[in-house]
Symmetry: D2
Subunit: 394 residues, 4 copies
């Protein structure tokens, strides 16, 4: 079968020492320190076979994620931008939906609580948590100490078929009523990025109560998904901060009541004006620019009257945010970090929310074929006009 394969040269930077989880020539936890000269292309690979507890899924739709872009993007020295777990060569793609074709022995369908049979419409988590380390045993699969990741160090979904363990597979059958034809698979391919946002604002931040205000900083897929989730959760005002007009429009379609352009408007003044001087209960940092964004959020909390605000940091960045403890004290506020999408009933709830009307499809701004995937992974390095570009298998 045809697949979008990423290759790279294993050339660890001189100062980089392999850690206990890195595997020489094959896999590392710090991609940007090791992989050079990324090379992306369509290749012919074998159709995989499901082992015990695994299922073979025919992929119907798979979206391009920012991490796909960064894995295939070299910096000035030729090293890839993506800093995380990677093992090449690998088939990319992890935001997907499809149909179960075959099940290995013992593979169980969580929906029926019976062995998987073919024909089930499904999506899957990208994180292959091990189910045996301490974080997994304690209920925190997003922090698995033996993680594999679909489309990163394990073959992903930009291909006709993919094999995944049953424990990360979730049925999409309940979407059938509301999403005709390919819309079901397109919606299904959005479950994963929506779950990242859901994990951040619902599971980690503790959600909101109806009547609370929220501010979302950054209109990338996670920020946009957060707009939809929080509006569906009863936010009085969803305020999206995003300079790009196209993203702003999608934000409005998904549930943002107001959009602030932080480049042309005074963010703090505008947020306080829109909230009658209160500010917000929940602030989501989804820009990746926390050194710029955090001080603005902090000012909203300090100047506003809302107590108990929670700032959720979901965008990855290693920059230091300048945090004033006194603001957290006087306003009874907190900061939490969020990563991942697994566990705590996130995937099934996102699917049920979609099945009952939370429509994420406006996030998809372009549909392409498998052959077009590599060129779009490359064009997205610079193209901010598209939001989610999704491959529909013919």
């Amino acid at each position: 079968m045809k697949a979008v394969v990423l290759r790279g040269d294993w050339e660890p930077k001189p100062e980089f020492r392999l850690g206990p989880k890195d595997i020489d020539q094959k896999q590392t936890y710090l991609g940007s320190k090791v992989w050079r000269n990324p090379c992306l292309g369509i290749e012919e690979v074998n159709i995989p076979e499901p082992g015990p507890g695994e299922v073979l899924i025919e992929v119907k739709a798979c979206g391009i994620c920012g991490s796909d872009v960064h894995m295939a993007q070299p910096d000035a020295d030729g090293y890839i931008w993506y800093p995380g777990l990677t093992g090449f060569p690998a088939v990319l793609g992890h935001e997907f939906a499809g149909i179960v074709k075959k099940a290995g022995p013992g593979a169980v369908n969580k929906r029926t609580n019976k062995p998987f049979s073919g024909g089930e419409y499904v999506c899957a988590e990208e994180m292959l948590w091990c189910a045996r380390c301490q974080p997994c045993a304690d209920g925190y699969p997003n922090h698995c100490e033996h993680l594999d990741e679909l489309g990163f160090n394990v073959d992903g979904a930009f291909a006709r078929y993919i094999v995944v363990p049953d424990r990360v597979v979730w049925s999409l059958e309940s979407l059938k009523k509301l999403y005709p034809g390919n819309d079901l698979f397109l919606a299904g391919s959005l479950v994963e990025p929506t779950s990242v946002a859901y994990n951040a604002v619902v599971q980690r931040a503790g959600g909101i109560k109806p009547g609370d205000n929220v501010v979302i900083c950054g209109g990338g897929p996670v920020g946009l998904a957060a707009c939809a989730i929080l509006k569906s959760m009863g936010a009085a005002r969803v305020i999206l901060s995003e300079p790009e007009a196209g993203r702003a429009a999608i934000g409005r379609a998904l549930g943002a009541d107001f959009v602030v352009n932080p480049l042309t408007e005074n963010f703090v003044e505008r947020v306080l004006e829109l909230t009658d001087g209160y500010g917000a209960k929940l602030y989501l940092e989804a820009t990746g620019l926390p050194t710029i964004v955090y001080p603005l959020i902090e000012q909203c909390i300090w100047d506003g009257r809302t107590l108990n605000s929670t700032i959720v940091v979901v965008a990855r960045a290693d920059a230091k945010m300048p945090v004033t403890g006194e603001v957290l004290q006087v306003r009874r506020a907190q900061i939490v970090g969020a990563q991942g999408h697994s566990g705590e009933g996130t995937f099934p709830r996102v699917i049920e929310a979609m099945a009952s009307g939370m429509n994420m499809l406006p996030m998809i701004t372009k549909k392409i074929t498998l052959d077009q995937v590599p060129e779009h992974i490359i064009s997205l390095r610079t193209d901010r006009s598209e939001c989610k570009i999704t491959c529909l298998m013919d």
Copy 2:
């Protein structure tokens, strides 16, 4: 000014002993044991004057509550039905909205954090928590040990004017955008009953996460308000159990996705069918018939696959529910009791939710004048076709 006044004879039943909080001839915590021959009428009373920390409000709208009906309703022996705190004679009425006319010294407007000035559109809590007992100091005003209640043992709002302490007054200014003319006051008069539901399903039950299912048993005002709140909070399916067609229709208008008629349908089968065999995360007992309803809810939990269900008991009843501990164990479920509407930011959140689109007005099925209030308090003893009857002051 004219006011709807309830009088009664202080004739404690022979077996009844006054408790420490009862006051001979004037006030009791167990109305149905003491007050006989209730007499309801329009009387001329003095306009009250606000003391320190109090405000005088011109009432614009006030709804009739079931407790108004039961206070004025004699049983076979002539004793009133209402079992709670009562002190007669009293002006009835506690679900109201109006305009601040005058403020006593030191009365503070929570919206502006400044002394009250006239003209503010407001509503008020019905519970006059003391702010000095241990439950109040600990943050549980719904369980105040020195409670007074507007329209029960303190003069209420079926009159042109009412005086209330500032701490229970909440601004309705944010409703102005969405609710023109008298709609603002009608909506404002619904804040109190909506807050009872909000306290039950959000504060006490811990709310839901988007994608969860809920079942509301009983389409009285609290059950109907719960439909609106939980739909606004992202419930995948709001299932209302209610036999009366008119109430069912209001439930649908407020957010119920499905209505089950428990008299003609198999409640358990229907709930499981509508939820793909899962049942619900939250069950609200709002019928007052827990001995009938609880076993049905329990069966849904036992037969369904949902873990962590919460059953909230909000309707008052002293009957014993037959609870199987094993069901709570196997399904990781819990039962909570809910009373009141004060504290925890409930009133301001309900107002903000209404201000941003949670429209409760379909609950009001009839508008009347002050003169018509007594006859409607009496007709509601038997009339189930009306939901909320609200007095609009001319």
Copy 3:
């Protein structure tokens, strides 16, 4: 090797229909409906071999649990008393500690996050959660839909060796400092029953805050363990209700400040007297007699002034408790069910608590050899004077 094996005849009662999880002639979810003529003895069985992800443990200590007694105890018709998951013949025993002797491929030690090597001192959960059903994926292994249980339907630990999957194995290395010689294994064998109590009072009930009062009804191993846990958590007063003098003494040794004899004292009066009229924040029902105990607890809550009380039902019983919703409402109280001991970091926290001084050893009132296990499983049908009888492998 020698092992304590339980056999029985597969004779389903006429009215009993096998469910989807029952396996004809081998395993059922309702033991007391199926197994007849239990027969307990020492047998010679093969030493098991660890498969992928499994470890072989040399058992050093294993306690007798009430369920061991009930599995081997016939009723008047010859059916076993134990109502749950069972698959015979099986080696009994699930409260054990020992030393890792051999590891199958891929078996990981959670303490080191590396492959298991021999010599690690360990204990194990009794519940073999599947790690692939929805409850497991959502973080609720105590409610696994594909559960196996050590010593119930899978061979247990009354034998020299046992094989278990790595995911349920927990290191006891941190006990070495405080527990010399066999004390380490005796303490380790108490981790499982202590975890059942911990799951009930900490995880399900939400624990307490320092200065809160608690009431423990029932001085069986779970109730006694709860005394120790809650005293270590800062309870102002731990009140144990238990009629048997020996159990009362153990309760005091483990942390109970007061013991009430419910057969000779007025439970409600005594609890209120000991708590200055407040009652308790947490009530644990660990007697198995909820129809007797619940009304007493309810009366304490109603007559006491404590708000937010939580009643945890941990003892198994299918009797209906008569619950007055009004009490839950007026006192802002709740009822929760608790089962199991897995997940949420319970095992590792119990071990660390023991390692830092929470001494559970007073629970063990007798030490026996493997050969003596069958006779003691039988004598415990009537003998209430012993608490925990533990087999020490020579």
Copy 4:
């Protein structure tokens, strides 16, 4: 009566503009911007009279707080160090215990729920929350928008008598069993500072579960009290970071299992070593030097394996902490701010914890008379050898 009175000159700095809550010549929210030339002395003042809802308390013991020191301490320009709410002249002193001598009309004793009568042993919150602003109505008195503070802008307790509103008074009667003679009042005077620590680690940080580790940075009174609270709550290891030997010794007496000297030891290595590489569930920043301390805490979290760590910032500082969002993400951690001691049942729980054995008396290193208070308020500017110096009224 004699009283310790602080006076100062109202000389707002040129750049300082009075805010809405400042009162010219009398009171300000930013003391260090306004008050110059502090002057501390013993003066003769009138015995106050309790008004409605107030009680007159005969002071028996009152401790010196760091804020007393800073209010009376001029900087190089003569302005006081203390930056918060102040209104001079004022009697200082807010950590006190005494005996109720007289009650104004309507003043209620929370213990008995009846009007106060003389003779009750009591202590009081320092924060006079207004009970009418939005934070108070919502249950957050620590964030009252109309706060007065005993011994800051309202006359305090370094005097024979003090008047306070009933809502902040708490009975110490339950201490009588364990604390003979003056020990009761000394213990009672420690309820306030202990409640500040309790609010931080229990209410704001959510406490711990038995078996968790904690790290306390800073052995001032709040940090030391936190050691006692967290040890009483079941911490496996309480690690105190404190360079001063005397403070370290008090920390050990109160419950610290280990003390790290951050000036002579490698804090991060030592914490990881003591916790078997895990780090802690709760870190308390109680040094006031967050720019130094935060990076060390962050490193412990990053290098340790504990998930869900909470960092509580209780010491006041306006410096920016450099926070790496990625650490919060990867370790599922959070930062919360804590201020105050009121509400949520904190005072009564601290008293009950003390009554049942949590002994805070080791914190008091010196007892003095009223006449000696001014000189000790001054000597404490430099003297780190004393912990809590407490005035015992003769």
